[in-house]
């Protein structure tokens, strides 16, 4: 790369040549993506990554997640780390140990390279911290006005150990429902920045990889029925998915659901329900009743599950209704989210 002008990561901007397959694209990939993601698979500069599978273990799991969050930088994170966490968590919720990630970038012409670098560094740090390398990728550039800065699609693969079978259809009446911590942080952090909402809050997004927590939970309680991360649609959507798939009802107790005071207050102000607000570093688990207390203990002893709680149980109800005992003393339904609460939250 001698005799070439270095990539101007201070003042430069994405232009169409960065996606055209020529020297500029090669330079962007080499100086930005390969440099920060930094692993042998990428250094090989092939179109795909070849790797050996761990011998004789379980099934493979593959998950993909596109990220279009707006704004790209938010309290507690950015689209970069979010795109790593999101897919790692999807693999983990299938019971898998995440192994490798792929990343596809759609960049908008004119986007500052300095900001792109911040995003790439954040992705690299998130991937390194999680121990899951980004081994292949793709870059496209669209004309100005045809994108919104940066969109990132990540795909992950992992291995589900033998003996683990997570499927909501295995949920049975009597099972317990647990969450791993405070709900609604991510959604409220994003909302606090939206131009027509903007309010001051100390709330940070909870974006985090929770595969280690999930791994510890599955190792201790292999009878686990199902795990899921309550992203868009929040806890309410996950519980309705479970109830629908299982053909059972679910009753939760409002008092038991962990929600930070600041999040509750922000939701109150905005007229929304924290049960429907997105999370990016939490999970919902369903396990047999007899394992629930032990599972809760395991979760609480893990840094990502310190505020875990048992929030309800599964009941026999072919209608698949999710109900909640309110703090007020009545009972009501927790229905699917109608319409959209807030677009482009992740």
């Amino acid at each position: 790369m001698s005799y070439s002008r270095p990539l101007d990561l201070k003042h430069g901007r994405v232009d169409l040549s960065h996606g055209s397959g020529g020297r500029a694209m090669a330079q962007l990939i080499h100086d930005l993506f390969v440099r920060h993601f930094d692993n042998d698979y990428l250094r090989a500069q092939t179109d795909g990554a070849c790797f050996a599978l761990p011998a004789g273990t379980g099934r493979m799991v593959m998950a993909t997640d596109s990220h279009v969050v707006s704004p790209l930088f938010f309290p507690g994170g950015d689209i970069g780390c979010l795109s790593v966490h999101g897919t790692i968590n999807d693999v983990a919720m299938a019971g898998g140990k995440p192994l490798y990630l792929a990343a596809g970038f759609i960049l908008e012409e004119g986007y500052p390279l300095a900001d792109l670098q911040r995003i790439v560094v954040s992705m690299a740090e998130a991937a390194r911290a999680a121990g899951v390398p980004i081994v292949t990728g793709d870059t496209k550039v669209v004309e100005q006005g045809k994108g919104d800065g940066v969109f990132i699609t990540t795909t992950g693969i992992g291995i589900v150990p033998d003996g683990i079978l997570l499927d909501p259809r295995r949920i049975q009446p009597g099972d317990r429902v647990l969450v791993s911590g405070y709900l609604g942080d991510h959604g409220v952090a994003i909302m606090s920045l939206r131009e027509n909402l903007s309010f001051d809050t100390a709330i940070q997004s909870d974006t985090a990889a929770i595969h280690c927590l999930a791994g510890a939970m599955l190792a201790a309680v292999p009878s686990m029925r199902v795990l899921r991360d309550p992203t868009r649609g929040g806890l309410a959507a996950v519980l309705n998915e479970f109830a629908c798939a299982a053909g059972c009802g679910i009753v939760i107790r409002e008092r038991a659901i962990p929600v930070r005071d600041e999040v509750a207050a922000a939701c109150e102000l905005l007229g929304i329900d924290p049960l429907y607000v997105a999370n990016e570093g939490k999970l919902v688990a369903v396990c047999p009743a007899e394992d629930a207390e032990r599972l809760l203990e395991i979760m609480r002893s893990h840094p990502r599950g310190r505020h875990a709680a048992i929030i309800g149980e599964v009941i026999a109800d072919p209608n698949g209704f999710v109900q909640m005992e309110t703090t007020f003393g009545g009972r009501r339904m927790v229905d699917w989210l109608t319409g959209e609460q807030l677009p482009r939250i992740c």
């Binding site: 009802g249 009941i315 209608n319 209704f321 007020f328 003393g329 009501r332 339904m333």
Partner: protein
């Protein structure tokens, strides 16, 4: 959460419910209408009906500004955005209200109309200032609660000399609608109402004075109630006590926010900018005299109806829809044939299904599990 949790305390609720159960006269029925959608929502969201003794029945009133907006007015808003090329700023609730021809503001937006969701009319004014080359119209809806803010932005626009901002005014009045409900009560064998849970936020603006004539004339007790579940429960107790004692006066449960005279400054602003409309078409209620406001001639330059020579076309509600009877309290959502089948919050046919404050949407979202014969119980 301070100043909120106190009004959602389950322990106090149980005590209040016990008092209520003890004071309700056996065999007597208490049919109470909560006028406001905010109360409907609170009742459903907190499962308040589970705490009421059998004789007490809550009837959902028409106090949801989105629900009572007739199709013709939504059609006009869509025309503004789609055909006149304006930026139409609207509260989110109106986006999904079904209009003529299978349209809604949301669908018009998807087809290219510039419809923008705002959280306050102030945002609409800001958008107008940021886009001096575009015409910006604020779709003003709501009861007396939201009217003063609309008045203020019109005056601000006038003070700034903005020439690209106007308001499509659809503000309506609560007392006129309450009178209309009572006037339609006597015309058939319809079940009578015994009392009203009166508006919370509306009353912070207009005060509780305006209901006194109503209570006296129709011999119906009115209790102005806050929107928290304990407020509603306490108000129901106050109504039951009045009914038992044969009294029919206005009482104020929401003393922390409502006075007899209300917010005089807000009232003055409203009077400066708006005047009474002789007649306004309400979805469900039909034409109600003196029940809405229009912009005064002084502010004609900010009146979208004048600026765009908008003519109102009345459009009948869908035939299968029972919104009219539900908004008047004559029918329960479950009595409507299309409830929960053709008409759901995802595909609303009638207005009551659109806003979360609508009687049908609240019942669908929070209460429909009670309609199912098998009453699911915790089996632990």
């Amino acid at each position: 959460m301070k100043y909120v949790d106190e009004f959602r305390d389950g322990e106090i609720a149980r005590k209040l419910a016990a008092t209520l159960a003890a004071e309700v006269q056996p065999g007597r029925s208490y049919r109470l209408m909560e006028f406001c959608g905010g109360h409907t929502h609170a009742i459903s969201r907190y499962g308040l009906l589970d705490l009421l003794p059998p004789g007490v029945q809550m009837i959902h009133g028409p106090g949801c500004p989105v629900c009572v907006l007739p199709i013709g007015r939504i059609d006009s808003a869509i025309e503004l955005a789609r055909d006149k090329g304006v930026i139409l700023c609207t509260y989110a609730d109106t986006l999904r209200v079904p209009a003529s021809g299978g349209l809604s503001l949301m669908r018009a937006k998807a087809q290219g109309a510039d419809v923008r969701m705002v959280y306050s009319c102030d945002d609409a004014l800001r958008i107008a200032r940021e886009h001096p080359d575009r015409e910006v119209v604020f779709f003003g809806i709501g009861f007396e609660t939201t009217t003063p803010m609309t008045a203020v932005v019109i005056q601000q626009a006038a003070a700034l000399g903005l020439s690209n901002f106007s308001v499509f005014c659809n503000h309506v009045l609560t007392p006129a609608a309450m009178v209309h409900i009572m006037e339609s009560e006597g015309d058939s064998s319809r079940v009578a109402l015994d009392g009203f849970v009166g508006p919370a936020h509306v009353s912070t603006v207009i005060g509780y004075g305006p209901y006194e004539g109503f209570a006296q004339h129709y011999r119906k007790p009115v209790v102005i109630a806050g929107f928290e579940p304990l407020d509603v429960l306490q108000s129901i107790l106050m109504l039951v006590r009045q009914i038992n004692a044969g009294r029919a006066v206005v009482e104020n449960q929401f003393t922390r926010a409502v006075t007899r005279e209300g917010n005089l400054k807000a009232q003055a602003r409203v009077a400066e900018v708006f005047e009474l409309r002789e007649c306004f078409d309400w979805r469900g209620l039909g034409e109600v005299p003196d029940s809405a406001l229009r912009i005064r001639a002084t502010y004609a330059a900010y009146d979208a109806e004048r600026c765009y020579s908008m003519a109102y076309r009345q459009v009948p509600d869908p035939k299968a829809c029972e919104c009219a009877a539900i908004l008047r309290g004559h029918k329960h959502p479950r009595d409507c044939k299309v409830f929960g089948t053709v008409c759901t919050p995802d595909h609303p046919i009638g207005a009551c299904m659109v806003s979360s404050e609508g009687a049908c949407a609240a019942h669908y979202t929070y209460g429909r599990f009670k309609e199912v014969p098998l009453r699911a119980e915790v089996n632990t």
